[in-house]
C-alpha cells in the first residue's frame, strides 16, 4: 500500500511545491478568512443584535463597505484556497494514513477545516446568485461554519507553528531554509517557480475581484462583467431583491385606502398617504446595501421616522417594531434600535430618485436607514410600533 501511495505521490509531485509556498499562501488565505469572519460577524450582529451590539449610522455607507469587503474577499479567497490545498496535496496520499492518536486527530481536524472551507466559499458565492440548491438553510449554516473554520484556522496555526516560523521569511534571508524552489533557483524544465506560481494565483484573485467588485463599489462598475448585480439596473435604477409578487403584497399595497398605523402605548394614529405627504419631507442620498454584497446609492425622500414617533408622543430614545404588509417572510417584522430612530436620515420613504416609489421598491412607503443591511430596510409598510 505504501508503495502505491508513494507512486501516486510521485505522480502528483511538483518542484513548485514547498513549505515556503504553503506558508505564503496560508498567510494570504488566513488573512482573507479573518477579514470575512470579522465583516460577517458585524453583519450578523446588525441582524441578530446581542445586548452589547453597537449600531454605527455614520458613515451611511459603512454596511456597503463591510459587506462589499465580505463578499469580495470571500470571492478572492477561492483561488487562494485552491492554491493552498494544491500546495499540500501530497500530504493527502501519505501512508500510513494515521500514525498515532495525535496524528489521527490532526488529520481529522484538517479534514474538517478543508471540507468546511470548500463548502463555505462555494455556498457563499452561489448564495450571492440567489440560488439555493442545498438541503440546509444558508444563513445559519454559513454562520456556524464560520466559527468552525476560524477555530480550525487557529488550531492549524498552532499545529504548524514550527513550520510557519521556519518559513516565515524568504529562504536565503533567514537561517532556516526548507524550501526546495528558492527565488534564485531557476524553474525545472517546463515548470514554474514559486514566485511565478504566486503571481499566477495573485493575478487570478485580482481578476475575480476586478470583474465583480463593481456590484459593491461604484469605482469598479465599468469592469463589472461577472457579478450577479449591476449598478443602475432595476425599476427606478435600483435593483430589487424581493419582488412584490414574491412577497404577495400587490393588492394590499395598491389599495387606495392604505394607511400607515403608528402606535405608542395603546394609542394609535393612522396616516394616509396624503397625510404622510403633507408632513415635512426630507431628502437624503443613501445606499441600499444587501447581505449578498451588491449595493446601490439612491436619492430617497419622505418623512423622518423620528417625526412620526414624536407625532404619537413617543420618547426620543424609542425602539421600534416595523411591520410589512407581507403576509409571511423572515423579514416581515423588523426591530429598529434607537440609533437609527434618532438619526435624522432614517426615513419612511415615499419617493425614490425623484419619482413615487415603485411597487417593487416598497410602495406606498418603506424604511430607509443609514448603514443597515438591505433586508432590514422594510418595504410595503403596514405599521410602526414604539416598543
Amino acid at each position: 500500500m505504501e508503495k502505491l501511495t508513494d507512486a501516486l505521490a510521485a505522480r502528483f509531485a511538483s518542484p513548485t511545491r514547498s513549505s515556503r509556498l504553503t506558508v505564503v499562501l496560508g498567510r494570504w488565505l488566513g488573512l482573507s478568512f479573518l477579514v470575512c469572519f470579522a465583516t460577517g460577524l458585524f453583519s450578523h450582529g446588525l441582524q441578530n443584535p446581542p445586548s452589547w451590539m453597537f449600531f454605527p449610522t455614520s458613515p451611511a455607507w459603512i454596511y456597503q463597505l463591510s459587506q462589499g469587503i465580505h463578499v469580495t474577499t470571500g470571492l478572492a479567497s477561492i483561488p487562494l484556497l485552491l492554491a493552498k490545498l494544491w500546495s499540500v496535496y501530497p500530504e493527502l496520499l501519505k501512508w500510513p494514513p494515521v500514525r498515532s492518536l495525535l496524528h489521527g486527530l490532526e488529520r481529522a481536524s484538517v479534514a474538517l477545516f478543508v471540507a468546511s472551507s470548500l463548502l463555505q466559499v462555494t455556498t457563499g458565492l452561489i448564495n450571492t446568485y440567489k440560488w439555493y440548491p442545498w438541503p440546509f438553510p444558508f444563513r445559519e449554516t454559513h454562520y456556524w461554519l464560520a466559527w468552525v473554520i476560524t477555530g480550525s484556522l487557529v488550531l492549524h496555526i498552532a499545529v504548524k507553528l514550527p513550520v510557519i516560523l521556519a518559513n516565515w521569511r524568504r529562504p536565503g534571508r533567514g537561517p532556516a531554509v526548507t524550501a526546495r524552489a528558492g527565488d534564485s533557483e531557476p524553474a525545472a524544465a517546463g515548470r514554474w517557480t514559486r514566485r511565478a506560481f504566486l503571481a499566477g494565483v495573485g493575478t487570478t484573485a485580482g481578476v475575480l475581484v476586478l470583474t465583480t467588485a463593481g456590484q459593491s463599489f461604484a469605482w469598479f462598475d465599468p469592469l463589472n462583467v461577472f457579478a450577479p448585480r449591476k449598478m443602475g439596473t432595476g425599476p427606478q435604477s435600483v435593483p430589487v431583491n424581493r419582488t412584490a409578487e414574491q412577497a404577495n403584497v400587490k393588492d394590499q399595497a395598491m389599495a387606495p385606502d392604505w394607511k400607515l398605523a403608528v402606535a405608542y402605548q395603546g394609542s394609535r394614529r393612522m396616516f394616509s398617504l396624503a397625510e404622510l405627504r403633507s408632513l415635512p419631507q426630507y431628502a437624503h442620498e443613501l445606499p441600499i446595501a444587501c447581505v449578498e454584497g451588491w449595493s446601490q446609492t439612491a436619492q430617497w425622500r419622505g418623512v423622518r421616522i423620528r417625526d412620526l414617533v414624536a407625532a404619537v408622543g413617543g420618547p426620543a430614545d424609542a425602539v421600534l417594531r416595523v411591520t410589512s404588509l407581507e403576509p409571511e417572510g423572515a423579514y416581515r417584522t423588523m426591530d429598529m434600535p434607537t440609533a437609527y430612530v434618532q438619526d435624522e436620515r432614517t426615513l419612511v420613504a415615499l419617493e425614490l430618485n425623484g419619482e413615487i416609489l415603485d411597487l417593487e421598491h416598497g410602495y406606498p412607503a418603506r424604511i430607509i436607514a443609514p448603514g443597515r443591511p438591505g433586508v432590514l430596510q422594510t418595504k410595503w409598510l403596514q405599521s410602526v410600533e414604539v416598543l
Partner: protein, 165 residues
Amino acid sequence: MKPTPGQVPASVPAAGPVGAPSRTVKIVRIVLIASGVAVISYGLLGLPTQLGAMQLVGLLAWLAGAVVLHDGVVVPLSTLVGAGLTRIGVGLRPASSAVLRGALMTGALVTLLVALLLKAQSVAQNVSVLEGQYAVALCWFWAALTLVTAAAIFVLQRRAPAAGP
C-alpha cells in the same frame, strides 16, 4: 494569543524547521490549540441548535461531497493539465511557460465562476439579479486573455536567452 512581532523572529533560529521549539513557542501553541478547539466546538455545537436532523445529514453529505470533488476531481484534473503544460513548456523559456500557466489558471477560475452564474441564471426568479450577458462576456474575456498571453509570450521568446528569466 499571538506572539508579538518581536518574539517571532527571535524564536526562529532556536526553533528551526523540526528542532526543539522554544518555551515561548510552546506556550503560544498550547494557548492557540485550546482556543482553536473551543471555537470549533462552539461552531459544531451551534449547528444542531438551528438545523434539523435531515438538514445536518444534508450538510454532512455536502461537506463530504466538497472534499471528494476537490481531492478526487479538481486536483487530479489540474495535475493532468499541468503535466501537459510541462511538456509544452520544455520548448518555451521559463518566463513564457509561467505566463501560459498563469493565464490558464485565471481562465479556468473565471470559466468556473461563469459556469455557476449561467446555471444560477437558468433557475433565477428575479428580474434584476443575474442580468448580465455572462456567456458573451466570457468569450470576450478569453479573447482578451489569449491576445495578452500570446503577445507576452511572443515578446518573451524573442528576448535573447542571455537576458535570463
